[in-house]
Symmetry: C2
Subunit: 192 residues, 2 copies
DNA sequence: CGGAGAAACTTGACACTGACTAGATTACCC
DNA sequence: GGGTAATCTAGTCAGTGTCAAGTTTCTCCG
């Protein structure tokens, strides 16, 4: 928090990640420049590498944070509504609300996929997702429940991806969560 | 076709694109190096730029080709089966069969989205997709037909994306198209 | 209090990249 | 055959990630 220029920045990792999120949200992970982040933070060009090792290390930290936030968001939606449909909406809302995280999380080639923290955070998010889909899956008597959960995941993931990449046609509701709710309810109506 | 080393390569654009597809399929579009492609083709480092302008130009060509192939694949599935479900399966099959194209097509920040050829190819693919989803949309009396088509698109796109990025859990059918067929039929069974 | 050791950061260098310019070579066509 | 356009080469520039070594500051223990 010290604003005066000292040798030690004090909170470099957090600052770097925050700047990285802004940059990624604006131009994607590919265009991310560690040197640019360092400049923004007012430190030397090699400072980020000291904390994150390398580019992949920084993006690993972003992905870990992202999976953690996603797990929280899904669990919260599940707790509040108990409705599997709303868990799906929460998934889309997360993607739209945290575009930078989302842009990194599902591209393992960008980060260190074998990082222990990453694996843990990912597992936690997976659990939240599965727990959210469970009510629907249970109602799917006959059909494979895991298959139903996977279908729901594919639907919201696909919609979020297409939305974020700007590939959806115009004329949709301004709020993507609302649009997703419409899609999902149209698809799942009268079942369960 | 001349194999002897002449000043003119003869078919550089095709060769470059082909090498680019291999490289993208292996390490993603971000890791693509124009200089490396030039080396593989046995030409100088600046030769690719002459044909494609720059990196974005090359990826634009890849995207155009990709949307063309997708349009063909969807139209073919629609023609042969007339089943909207099989059009969705064809979408997944295309993604898995042309991972490099697919990895570029839906990331407009990588290429020149305002390129006329690109816009045309994309429109053609969109039409094929919409035509494929039409039977299903029509059966959705009451529900917005465009909404139904969008839901179907989201489902297959999400599944393909998750599959390609290696984010799906183990235990699925080895053939992604088959897995997608299962998902979609489970979701759409008894409707229409 | 003070000094050792660890942590945070800087400086400098290297190999690599995409992009640009100017020039050399070749194909094409009247 | 000669002129013109297309193709490709060669050289250069600014920018990047990564590494190694040095400097500054913090922390904590005696």
């Amino acid at each position: 928090m010290s604003t005066n220029a000292s040798y030690h920045h004090g909170n470099l990792p957090r600052t770097i990640i925050s700047a990285a999120l802004d940059a990624i949200a604006e131009s994607g992970p590919s265009a991310l420049s560690l040197r640019d982040l360092a400049r923004q933070a007012g430190v030397s060009h090699a400072a980020p590498a000291h904390h994150f090792g390398d580019r992949a290390g920084l993006l690993t930290a972003v992905a870990v944070q992202g999976f953690g936030l996603l797990a929280d968001a899904l669990a919260e939606a599940q707790r509040q509504t108990g409705d599997f449909l709303e868990v799906g909406v929460a998934y889309v809302d997360f993607a739209v609300g945290h575009p930078a995280h989302f842009a990194v999380m599902f591209r393992p080639e960008l980060y260190r996929a074998d990082d222990p923290e990453l694996i843990a955070a990912k597992a936690r998010a997976g659990e939240s997702l599965y727990r959210g889909a469970a009510p629907f899956a249970a109602s799917e008597s006959g059909a494979d429940s895991q298959e139903a959960a996977l279908a729901a995941w594919s639907l919201v993931h696909g919609f979020a991806t297409l939305w974020l990449s700007g590939n959806l046609p115009a004329g949709l509701p301004a709020d993507p969560g609302q649009a997703a709710r419409g899609l999902a309810s149209a698809l799942f109506s009268g079942r369960g």
